[in-house]
């Protein structure tokens, strides 16, 4: 089993902040798989979902390669429909180039994620804004990678509703980030811009 080398992260807890809800911590069910494939593995290197963890986020590029190869497509589609596979988008994945795959994915993925290679790389903010606005993705979008306390507010506003924070981050401080502001001066996924009552 390739879990030790090819799993990017397996958080104990994730921070959930549903739209119109309150932020809270919950046990995490999802492994984040790097997509690096061991030759010895079946199913394109996908972690063993029967015997190991039950749910895995796979790289979008891996998903693309599998559905294009058709070899394992039926199996991964079934696992996705069964709620065992979601996809994560790398910062340089151009989701607009694969609009058809995303549209089809909406019917099978129970979770998608967008990755921050480093906290100051803002590309996943636009990816998530597009998932919400262009693709009308209604399900959960998780921030993964170098996710720090001081990105949470921006992330929550562009469309993320769960956060797998970098393990060294203080989750109590993290939970307090979302009510720092009671006003906003531009529209976002969560709120319309504040208006002055006449």
């Amino acid at each position: 089993m390739s879990l030790t080398t090819n799993i990017i992260a397996a958080h104990d807890q994730v921070l959930h902040f549903p739209k119109d809800g309150k932020p809270s911590l919950a046990p995490n069910e999802w492994l984040i798989w790097s997509g690096d494939q061991d030759k010895s593995e079946d199913e394109g290197g996908l972690p063993d979902l029967e015997h190991g963890a039950h749910k895995v986020l796979v790289p979008f590029t891996w998903w693309l390669s599998q559905i294009n190869s058709h070899h394992h497509e039926a199996d991964i589609q079934a696992k996705a429909k069964n709620g065992q596979i979601g996809v994560w988008f790398a910062a340089d994945d151009d989701i607009l180039k694969h609009a058809d795959v995303i549209e089809a994915g909406k019917k099978v993925w129970s979770l998608v994620a967008a990755h921050f290679p480093i906290f100051r790389d803002g590309r996943s903010f636009s990816t998530t804004a597009l998932l919400r606005n262009r693709f009308a993705w209604q399900g959960e979008i998780r921030a993964i990678g170098d996710v720090l306390i001081d990105q949470l507010l921006q992330g929550a506003r562009v469309g993320f509703d769960s956060f797998a924070l970098r393990p060294d981050q203080n989750l109590d401080v993290a939970l307090k980030q979302f009510d720092l502001y009671t006003v906003t001066t531009q529209n976002s996924w969560r709120d319309k811009r504040s208006t002055v009552s006449a």
Binding site: D94, R120, N133, L180, Y181, T182, T184, T185
Partner: protein, 568 residues
């Protein structure tokens, strides 16, 4: 001018609280410096050579006397008794401590000021024409659009971590006083044939290592659609701007790589999906903001002739006063009024753009007495009293002289734009301020300066170009070679409607050679000019050669300079 409503005030107060918490986490060690750095930069706090430097926004250059008094208070209480007005309508304090910063921001918030997005890889403080609303050549008052976009861009979540900094300039006048084409996005406002307010959008301009003038990518965009169009533009940049190389991360590199047409096409493609969305501005929002930019209560006056104005001065003062009228007083839209530029460029003193606590307080009083309590900061690092009765100009001139802000050198060789340079800035390769001082001391003869007429001389201490050297008729750039400070000269730069990037004339010089080099260049102009021909016109007619030959004629260290090669 604009007055905060409870939304603006709440947001700024909450930003102070947020930053206070971030600073506390930095001080207790739970936030590492590397991770704190982008957070403090997005709130204007740099770590400089000697101390922290706080850059405070003066949105589109407009402020009031009460705000200036707070700026003075901060200089007195938290700094060393002065502030530095920058080339992008900000004020900087060079000697603050990290621990004091939240309190400084709280002081600023009390007078509707902040340091939000004055640095960092985000949408920076929006700049505009310092004469907005009063300039004689104005088509459209840009201030409502400036304010609407200030609000739209403040804490914009999607664009909080762009590949690199992102600067807007907005102009609504015939003459461009914003260096519009040297901005990541330049917005030119005008009225279309139906009288509707529309914007031409220029993208991909910038100075820095690769100076490029912006390209027109969108014409006649209705003002209401600015948020959706700019979202599309920034989204394309955020997704595809380079992040692998700091020096190639500005939007100008993306626009150049794709070509302006292809970049415009991609923006248009993105915009199609969002142009009809509810991000766009409404008329109600315009009304809410625009009501603050009404004209002050002008008296009904008639325009005074030049002769009548000069006769306000005594015989002995006439020459000096008329010089000030010629250089530092500008036409106004309203008869009987004028705009006055207070020069922060006294010869041979500290830094261009510096004002002391005492000067700031006195200038605040002048604003109250002479100009409805309002002021503007120019990108040339001077201050403006925009609405002065012509009949009171002589009185104001005498007051301004007492504060040493009446030197009639606006637009002349010694009205030098300069960054703080190596004396303060940790990015700088070389010092700027001693060069500015040496040039001002060399050309300390007002008769001669007047004879030379309009010449811009801009100095940057490094290629980041905060001193706008690329658009100076004469540009001086500090470069580092083998640990020594050298200075590269460019000629032919220009701001305004004929904006141009200056050309490097050749190998760099030592600091002590610069006054002679400038003298030789100026002497060539004086020798070659035709009657009434400005420096830049003569340069364009003659080309670089005679100026270059003159610049190097005494270059004692020329060989060494040549062997050291060009700046990277």
């Amino acid at each position: 001018m604009y007055k905060y409503d409870h939304i603006d005030q709440t947001l700024v107060n909450q930003r102070v609280a947020q930053f206070r918490d971030q600073v506390a986490r930095r001080l207790n060690g739970s936030l590492k410096e590397e991770e704190f750095r982008p957070l403090r930069l997005q709130n204007g706090l740099y770590h400089q050579r000697h101390a922290y430097m706080l850059r405070v926004a003066i949105p589109y250059g407009l402020f009031n006397s009460q705000q200036l008094r707070t700026m003075a208070l901060i200089a007195e209480k938290y700094d060393r008794g002065y502030g530095h007005f920058t080339t992008r309508q900000n004020i900087q304090y060079n000697w603050v401590t990290l621990e004091d910063t939240p309190d400084i921001l709280a002081e600023l918030a009390k007078v509707e000021m902040h340091a939000i997005q004055t640095s960092g890889n985000c949408i920076r403080n929006i700049t505009s024409d310092a004469f907005a609303g009063v300039a004689g050549d104005e088509y459209v008052d840009p201030r409502p659009v400036c304010e609407l976009l200030r609000q739209w861009s403040t804490l914009h979540p999607e664009f909080a971590h762009l590949p690199r900094k992102f600067k807007f300039a907005i102009n609504g006048a015939k003459e461009d006083r914003t260096i519009l084409l040297c901005h990541d996005v330049g917005i030119e406002l005008k009225k279309d044939s139906q009288g509707e307010l529309v914007a031409d959008i220029y993208a991909g301009g910038g100075m820095g290592r690769t100076p490029i003038l912006g390209s027109l990518i969108k014409q006649a965009l209705p003002w209401q659609l600015l948020p959706s169009y700019l979202t599309a533009l920034l989204r394309v940049y955020n997704r595809f701007g380079r992040r692998d190389n700091l020096y190639k991360a500005r939007i100008k590199i993306l626009v150049k790589a794709l070509g302006p047409e292809e970049f415009a096409r991609q923006v248009e493609g993105e915009w199609l999906h969002i142009k009809n969305g509810d991000d766009n501005f409404t008329q109600a929002e315009w009304n809410r903001v625009a009501k603050h930019f009404t004209k002050p209560v002008y008296k009904s006056l008639s325009k005074l002739s030049h002769e009548a104005l000069i006769n306000l001065a005594s015989e002995t003062d006439k020459t000096a006063f008329s010089r000030w009228l010629e250089r530092n007083v500008k036409d106004h839209q309203v008869p009987g009024y004028a705009s006055v530029i207070l020069s922060l460029k006294p010869h041979g003193t500290v830094a261009p753009g510096d004002a002391t606590t005492a000067q700031m307080r006195a200038i605040a009083d002048l604003a109250d007495q002479y100009s409805f309590g309002e002021l503007r900061a120019t990108h040339e690092q001077n201050l403006v009293l925009a609405d002065v009765e012509q009949a009171r100009l002589h009185e104001l001139w005498q007051e301004a002289k007492k504060q040493k802000v009446a030197l009639p050198n606006v637009g002349l060789l010694t009205d030098i734009i300069a960054c703080p340079g190596g004396d303060f800035c940790s990015l700088a390769n070389a010092k700027s301020l001693p060069i500015a001082k040496a040039i001002q001391e060399r050309f300390d003869d007002l008769d001669y300066l007047f004879d030379l007429g309009d010449i811009s001389l801009n100095i940057s201490g490094c290629i980041n170009s905060c001193g706008h050297h690329h658009v100076g008729n004469i540009g001086v750039l500090g470069v580092d070679k083998d640990g020594e400070e050298w200075y590269q000269i460019t000629l032919g730069g220009e701001q305004g409607n004929d904006a141009a990037i200056g050309k490097v004339i050749g190998p760099s010089f030592y600091a002590d050679e610069i006054p002679d080099v400038i003298t030789n260049v100026i002497n060539t102009y004086v020798k070659e000019r035709t009657e009434d021909e400005s420096f830049i016109s003569a340069y364009r007619r003659l080309g670089v050669t005679p100026f270059k030959d003159a610049a190097y004629k005494n270059a004692k260290k020329k060989e060494k300079a040549a062997s050291a090669g060009e700046a990277s």
